[in-house]
């Protein structure tokens, strides 16, 4: 329906979009009533637990489960033998791709274990203690192999090989010997050599980042129940229950219709809950036992066995003229993929220089497998790593040229019509607006005290649309129920209720938004790529328009006038044209009340592939202080300015901005996976994997810039991912400003900072 794509006039008064009502899921969450992944209990339910590899790399010689199976209370044990092998086939998972041949090996190791924590077997038992004991009774014979953790080390010719058949894609000619490099990607525009020749100053730097975990507070959890006739129910904490259904159907060789998946409330995902770990195991155990099976990861499991984002090595070279025009930009990115190919190096390359209007640019990326858990999406996957490096170099160029860093960015900023280095021409975008507002902001103009530093950085993320279905039912009392299929991970139900209410002309409290199970709606791609409010909102508006059309038809029937002589205004059907004023308007509630007599229940539905997603740009500004005797960094002040297109529920837009900044602060200062020589993770818990606590961060100030997306009925852009892109560079730039030291390694943890300060002082 073209009507759904009409952009509401910017001048038009919006009654509900842009307001801040209490979120529909709020009371349940603050009272403890909300059901999360581990909160479902079914009669006869068993507990499932996973035996995980203690080795980062080993061949599995044999697995003997007989002693475990003989233990009283053990109902089933599954291993690689319970899953059929799969052909190589790539399918989308969030903004990333997965290969089923790898997925089946990741959920349960086959020939080899490829990382510490890799699942080797799973048991279902009548109690946790019996399940734990059963795991100890499983004999696995391993032939331990040399391992490699670091991406650069894994690229060395003599590095231990994870996959004997991995021939690097994207190089010509294709190599005939295997390596740990799964692919090479390249994006280029213009001629970088020519561009560097035109430059007055050139900065060249190499950066290293550590893998970081999404750090969702709720561990992965699910309950599976399969009946004797093969019909299955799965309840789990996920960002995409349809995608879980697809994967599980493929792995278990079931019809999609046989599996109904219900997404529980989710205690954080950030991209990490877009893949399957426990779900196929729980289904297989339920299939084998005939009982429901619950599986819940420990925090240790989450760290050792689920996907963080890549650690990486990034080389950047940029040149500029004296008057501050960037003439060339080049980067080489080496990203860890973990045990299986598929790091976010490609989006990393595409994002690297996206905030700038460049004539000559080249990015090359390498996807490198290493003996670590397979990476999963994490907010703007790939972008924060490459843009940390490029925005650090941009800052250094500005400083060398003696140009204010905001002015330098403005001089080179991408605008509407800019040909992005990764391909497309940008439509209306808000980078310039965020920079201009940053420059005018009181924060930017407040003097620093001695010893303090200030940094700024910009960031970009694409955002996506995709397959989306909703159903809207107008209830007999004039209220409405909206069923959506994108799990609500950041307040999207509140936003969907607002957009639906706006379109229908009823109060948002009259709209109850629900996330339906996979059997109640058509296919929905997962909540990722900042698509939920954009896509489900677009679909909700289309469904509302269908309901409105029907309500107008009912009014026409009652008034006995043509359908096209009725208009919908402010929640009422009104006679129009020649009939204007001849009948009293009928409210939505009036029409709903008479629906039974005028043709039956009224509703609308939409099944769309949402197009027109538009990128969001942001600029972050941070003040900090460094304790030069201990290397400890205190974040004093932080401001996020980002284009939201339009903020449907501003509180949740601000929440996304603040959450991204806080996760970025953790990434910049303290978060890292620490491995021993043995390839085992040494800090698989929140004590030593240091995400920020509340008292570590100041109140994060936010400025919502609104440059509407013309392709969305309410101008929406995705907002959830861009906020994690700029913090690392903003903080590194502030560190340079405070200490005179350019830090090129993350995290900037106290021992590293103190050492750099001592080196600076010649100590």
């Amino acid at each position: 329906m073209s009507q759904a794509l009409k952009l509401d006039d910017d001048e038009q008064d919006l009654k509900y979009v842009g307001t801040r009502p209490v979120r529909p899921d709020g009371v349940d969450k603050v009272t403890g009533r909300a059901k999360f992944g581990a909160d479902l209990h079914l009669p006869g339910m068993l507990t499932g637990q996973v035996l995980r590899s203690p080795h980062p790399h080993a061949r599995i010689v044999s697995i003997d489960t007989s002693k475990a199976e003989a233990l009283a209370g053990v109902k089933a044990v599954i291993t690689r033998d319970d899953f059929q092998d799969m052909e190589s086939e790539f399918v989308p998972a969030g903004e990333m791709m997965v290969n089923y041949r790898d997925v089946v090996r990741n959920v349960m190791a086959r020939e080899k274990v490829l990382y510490e924590g890799h699942a080797v077997a799973a048991v279902a038992a009548t109690s946790n203690s019996i399940a734990r004991k059963a795991l100890r009774l499983i004999d696995v014979e391993y032939e331990v192999l040399p391992h490699v953790i670091d991406a650069v080390a894994a690229m060395a010719p003599d590095a231990p090989l994870l996959h004997d058949d991995m021939m690097t894609e994207g190089v010509d000619p294709k190599p005939d010997t295997p390596s740990n490099v799964s692919k090479r990607v390249e994006f280029a525009l213009g001629d970088v050599e020519k561009g560097f020749a035109e430059a007055d100053v050139i900065v060249e730097r190499e950066f290293n980042t550590k893998p970081v975990h999404q750090g969702y507070i709720e561990p992965h959890a699910c309950v599976a129940s399969m009946s004797e006739d093969g019909q299955a129910d799965l309840w789990c904490s996920t960002q995409g229950h349809y995608v879980v259904r697809t994967h599980c159907a493929r792995l278990l060789n079931l019809d999609v219709s046989k599996i109904r998946v219900t997404a529980s409330e989710i205690g954080g995902g950030f991209g990490g809950k877009t893949v399957v770990y426990l779900e196929p195991l729980a289904l297989a155990l339920s299939q084998k036992t005939g009982h429901p099976v619950k599986m819940v990861m420990s925090r240790d499991d989450v760290f050792r066995a689920t996907g963080p984002t890549s650690g990486a090595n990034v080389w950047v070279k940029m040149g500029a003229t004296k008057d501050g025009r960037i003439t060339a930009a080049e980067a080489v990115l080496k990203y860890q993929a973990g045990a299986f190919q598929g790091s976010p190096v490609q989006p990393g390359c595409m994002c690297a220089f996206a905030p700038y209007d460049l004539e000559n640019v080249k990015t090359v990326g390498y996807d490198v497998v290493t003996n670590r858990p397979k990476v999963a999406a994490y907010r703007a996957p790939g972008g924060p790593i490459s843009e940390y490096a490029t925005e650090s170099v941009v800052d250094e160029l500005a400083k060398m040229l003696g140009i204010d860093p905001v002015d330098f960015r403005l001089r080179n900023a991408a605008r509407e019509g800019t040909h992005a280095a990764y391909g497309p021409k940008f439509g209306p975008i808000g980078l310039v607006e965020t920079l201009e507002q940053a420059k005018a902001h009181e924060h930017y103009n407040t003097p620093l005290k001695p010893g303090q530093g200030r940094g700024i950085a910009s960031g970009f993320w694409f955002n996506i649309g995709g397959e989306t279905c909703v159903t809207l039912n107008i209830n007999e009392d004039g209220s409405a129920t909206l069923m959506a299929g994108t799990p609500d991970i950041g307040g999207s139900r509140a936003s969907l209720a607002l957009m639906t209410a706006e379109r229908l002309g009823i109060e948002p409290e009259k709209v109850r938004p629900l996330i339906a199970d996979t059997s109640s709606l058509g296919y929905n791609f997962l909540t990722g790529g900042s698509r939920a409010t954009f896509s489900s909102g677009m679909a909700a508006v289309e469904a509302a328009d269908e309901a409105i059309k029907e309500m107008c038809a009912r009014a026409a029937k009652i008034w006995e006038i043509p359908e096209d002589a009725v208009v919908w205004e402010d929640g009422h059907a009104k006679p129009a044209g020649d009939n204007a004023g001849k009948f009293d308007p009928l409210s939505l509630a009036d029409i709903a009340d008479m629906a039974g007599k005028t043709g039956g229940p009224i509703g609308g539905a939409a099944r769309i592939n949402a197009k027109g997603a538009a990128p969001s740009f942001g600029t972050h500004m941070v003040d900090l202080e460094v304790d030069e005797e201990t290397g400890r960094v205190t974040i004093l002040r932080y401001t996020v300015l980002q284009d939201a297109g339009r903020a449907v529920h501003p509180s949740y837009v601000e929440g996304q901005y603040q959450g991204g900044a806080v996760q970025g602060i953790g990434w910049a200062l303290n978060e890292e996976y620490i491995y021993g020589e043995d390839g085992r993770m040494q800090n698989p818990g929140f004590l030593d994997y240091r995400i920020p606590v509340a008292s570590d961060v100041p109140m994060i100030d936010t400025v919502i810039v609104e440059v509407p997306n013309p392709r969305h009925p309410y101008g929406v852009r995705g907002v959830g991912e861009t906020p994690i892109v700029p913090p690392m560079a903003a903080i590194a730039n502030a560190m340079e400003n405070a200490t005179g030291i350019r830090f090129t390694e993350l995290p900037m943890s106290p021992p590293k900072v103190l050492k750099a300060i001592e080196d600076r002082d010649g100590g």
Partner: protein, 290 residues
């Protein structure tokens, strides 16, 4: 399955009897903020857990001979609400209050913190600096042990089988005394000390340091009592030169390891920095006439 018995006796004698019967299988439960975590993680498999919180002696704070006696199972929150201890030993109180979150403070105890045997335990450097003496009870009766002699290695104590700490005796507090504890953590709370430093001083009427004790945590296999660091202060007014000597002596006493929480270099340097900063806070408190 492995069975675990839980007992909560209401007298010292009963607890001693249960623990000596249980031998290696017995574990003492005070606040449980370490033991329960270790149980859940499968790190320990005790056959008997003896909860000592029903025993009056381990739960009381009392005045004794001009000083204080604090039960081993008094919680951090209770200690923080005791006006006398806050006035006399603010460094000990602030160290104990650093253990865990507000919720954990309702359970965590100095006795548990000490007997868990961690080199990084927050209350221990402050207790050592304070010169606190543990009253230990066991099958062979009662004995007094200086706190610095309890931990003998990571997770290891000098307590004999069946023994546990009943209380801590804090010495008399002369005029012009002050103590302080500082720890280094990368975060602001909810963390474990990378370095901890406790300093306790007494000045004379002219502001000259008459007595000092310095305790360090997380820089060696056990918390340390550093005599050289104390000597650097005694006889001085805690002027810059004395503080530099203190920092150097504190750093020199460190025998840390490189681990996930910090490097040898880092811990050694920061131990000196924290000792100096803690001494300055203790000095302020001493001058306030505490």
């Amino acid at each position: 399955m492995e069975e675990m018995r839980y007992e909560a006796p209401d007298s010292l004698d009963a607890a001693v009897a249960m623990l000596s019967d249980a031998g290696e299988a017995g574990r003492v439960l005070a606040g449980g903020t370490d033991l329960l975590v270790q149980l859940r993680a499968g790190m320990v498999h005790p056959g008997l857990v003896v909860d000592i919180k029903n025993i009056p002696e381990v739960r009381a704070i009392s005045e004794e001979g001009g000083g204080f006696r604090v039960g081993a199972a008094v919680t951090g929150a209770e200690l923080g609400e005791h006006a006398g201890m806050c006035k006399a030993w603010p460094g000990v109180v602030e160290a104990t209050e650093l253990i865990g979150s507000t919720q954990i403070q309702g359970r965590a105890t100095m006795g548990g913190n000490l007997c868990n045997g961690s080199p990084a335990a927050d209350s221990v450097p402050a207790l050592i600096a304070a010169g606190a003496v543990a009253s230990v009870i066991g099958p062979s009766g009662q004995r007094d042990v200086p706190v610095e002699d309890i931990i003998i290695g990571p997770g290891k104590t000098s307590l004999e089988k069946g023994e546990f700490v009943v209380s801590f005796k804090f010495p008399d507090r002369p005029a012009h005394s002050g103590d302080a504890y500082l720890r280094f953590i990368p975060r602001t709370e909810m963390d474990i000390a990378v370095v901890g430093a406790g300093v306790n001083i007494t000045l004379d009427d002219d502001g000259v340091c008459q007595a000092a004790r310095v305790g360090l945590g997380a820089v060696a296999a056990t918390p340390l009592l550093v005599a050289d660091a104390a000597d650097a202060l005694i006889g001085s007014t805690l002027d810059d030169a004395a503080l530099e000597k203190l920092a150097a002596a504190a750093s020199a006493a460190c025998k840390p390891i490189d681990d996930k929480r910090g490097t040898i270099e880092f811990r050694t340097k920061v131990a000196g920095v924290l000792a100096r900063r803690a001494a300055l806070i203790a000095l302020d408190r001493a001058k306030e006439g505490r």
